[in-house]
């Protein structure tokens, strides 16, 4: 079973984000970067499929600056076989379409039965690259996947996905693009031998020129701002529960007017 896993390095969820002085982006100093949590589910699922079929390959494909190498190495330490690192200023922080184009161009040089993407990256929160990649490669997509069962012949997979207030079970022909959702699995930690082995695994570096693409941005951002600071309201301490409950319920009706 051959999987291509698209992976993004993002600021850790406990990061306090600050906007830079000219409002063109965020302050990146001191940020701790991790593998996008949804991409970790992808890596784990790809490894499990390789283990289940006792054959195959897990290729990690990432776009980002030099530091993204760490995220690829972490995935290799979890057990992936090799990495492809697209590092090009015109692509690294571009919009989802350009990202999907670069992923598609790189994917054309890889053999795969399935492509995994996180259903969104927790930094820019677009959540578009997976479906766009599927479309650009003319493959079926199943998004927000929580369970994957690949048939013995590797021709189809039965996949569970989240829908509003429920679950949908679909059968999808392979190859396809699946986007991972929380609940898919519990990602493993990299073992010490895994970390040692990862150092020797190949990471292929690519630029837009190598991919034969001329990136043309479709979206542009401006005016990064911090959300309005929420002021602490009234806190009721040292009160009988019944009394505190009454005061707050009344305030929700008469003061906040939300009930």
């Amino acid at each position: 079973m051959k999987s291509l896993v698209c992976l993004k390095q993002v600021p850790d969820t406990e990061t306090q984000i600050k906007v830079n002085a000219d409002g063109t982006g965020i302050v990146t100093d001191g940020i701790k970067y991790v593998i996008n949590p949804y991409d970790e589910f992808s890596v784990e699922e790809a490894l499990r499929l390789k283990e289940k079929f006792k054959a195959g390959e897990v290729v990690i494909l990432s776009i980002g600056p030099d530091r993204a190498t760490e995220a690829i190495r972490t995935a290799l330490a979890m057990g992936a076989d090799r990495g492809i690192h697209i590092n090009d200023d015109a692509i690294n922080s571009s919009d989802p379409f350009v990202i999907a184009q670069a992923l598609a161009a790189a994917a054309k040089g890889v053999e795969f039965d399935v492509i995994f993407c996180g259903h969104r990256a927790i930094d820019d929160d677009f959540g578009e690259a997976g479906a766009m990649l599927a479309e650009l490669l003319q493959l079926p997509q199943v998004t927000l996947v929580t369970k994957v069962d690949v048939g013995a012949d590797k021709k189809t997979a039965v996949v569970e996905r989240d829908i509003e207030g429920g679950k949908e079970v679909v059968e999808v022909p392979l190859p396809c693009v699946l986007t991972s959702q929380k609940g898919l699995n519990e990602p493993r930690y990299a073992s010490l031998p895994g970390i040692m082995k990862a150092k020797k695994k190949p990471i292929d570096k690519k630029t837009s020129g190598d991919l034969g693409m001329v990136p043309e941005a479709k979206l542009q951002s401006k005016n990064y701002t911090m959300p309005p600071v929420r002021q602490a309201g009234k806190v009721f301490a040292d009160m009988e529960p019944a009394e505190a409950a009454k005061v707050v319920v009344q305030a929700l009706r008469n003061e906040a007017k939300v009930i």
Binding site: P37, G127, S221, T225, L252
Partner: protein, 326 residues
């Protein structure tokens, strides 16, 4: 010709409220640009919603009918939507950032060679261009985005844009379209819908959420509170509660779960980690119930009660019942 086109999502035989949010916003934008507002509905049941869409300002309702279009499928719906966009050439296309919208929009955008400004909480038109303001990093900051390509596509966060009645003709135009099923897609084998009528977290007006302080899987006190509030209320959970296996992952509020913006968010036994506060910080009113007076959640709450949630919540429910029965 429609300058602005919105997508009317149908679910369970009903048109979603988010369609009216889009229609109201689309009307404003179309008026600003001096053009018409169109709406696309897919499937033969779509026609019956034309008058509803008209009430919120839609001039023309495009009903696309054809094989493979009766039930949602990403590839076939994206083909249909892209077809209408190519035929009608709107400048701006708006969808909702619902589960279906998240699946359909990028696939459609890629067919058209554009990207979508995802999950916007407000829109403005500047020099004839659509500018969408969207939270990033789960709401830790915001930025404005605009499209450099045509059509300009965007999705709107559910439950944020106001619905405004502004009756227009809502003329129905039927469009027959047969998707190319040479393009492979999945087939739906089973659809399990929660029949309790539980509203999705991202669309709930009131969320009662429980964290580590719940101590286990028994959320009956919070379920009771949500049921007293009524059908627009639902129960959520923090990452700690989900990771402990107490609640399903689909209930998780926060940066690795859902970003929510209800009118009222009641946080019970949730200390308020950075990633949780980011995910619920845009709620209109926040109530926190926690026994730790130092819990960060109190710095964001409009009303805080320091106390044992197992003592406070039953009293809270009692008071609510009395008040809401009036």
């Amino acid at each position: 010709m429609s300058k602005v086109l919105i997508y009317g999502e149908i679910k369970g035989g009903k048109i979603k409220k988010t369609a009216f949010e889009l229609a109201s916003e689309g009307r404003k934008i179309a008026d600003g640009l001096g053009g018409d507002l169109g709406a696309v509905v897919i499937g033969s049941q779509g026609e019956q919603f034309a008058s509803d869409l008209a009430r919120y300002g839609v001039d023309t309702v495009f009903v696309i009918e054809g094989a493979d279009l009766e039930n949602y499928n990403s590839e076939y719906f994206a083909q249909a939507l892209a077809h209408v966009i190519q035929e009608k050439k709107p400048e701006i296309v708006l969808l909702s950032h619902t589960m279906q919208g998240k699946d359909l929009t990028p696939r459609t955008a890629a067919k058209l060679g554009v990207a979508s400004i995802a999950d916007c909480v407000s829109f403005e038109v500047d020099g004839g261009k659509l500018v969408g303001t969207r939270p990033m990093y789960a709401g830790k900051c915001n930025a404005q985005w605009l499209s450099l390509a045509s059509p300009q596509m965007a999705t709107a966060r559910p439950n944020v844009l106001e619905t405004v009645e502004n009756p227009k003709a809502g003329t129905v135009e039927k469009i027959a379209f047969t998707p190319d099923n040479g393009r492979l897609s999945y087939t739906t084998k089973d659809l399990t819908l929660d029949t309790s009528g539980k509203v999705d977290l991202t669309e709930a007006e009131i969320i009662v959420s429980g964290g580590r302080g719940m101590g286990g899987t028994d959320y009956s006190l919070l379920e009771e509170m949500a049921s007293i509030f009524g059908p627009a209320a639902t129960v959520g959970a923090s990452r700690a509660a989900v990771d402990a296996g107490w609640r399903p992952h689909s209930d998780q509020v926060g940066q690795t779960g859902k970003t929510v913006c209800p009118n009222l968010y009641v946080a019970c036994g949730i200390s308020g980690s950075i990633q949780h506060l980011a995910g619920m910080g845009s709620s209109k009113v926040i109530v926190a119930i926690n026994k730790d007076p130092e819990a960060p959640i109190f710095s964001k709450a409009d009303y805080g009660i320091v106390g044992d949630l197992f003592k406070v919540v039953p009293e809270f429910n009692k008071e609510l019942k009395v008040l809401l029965a009036e």
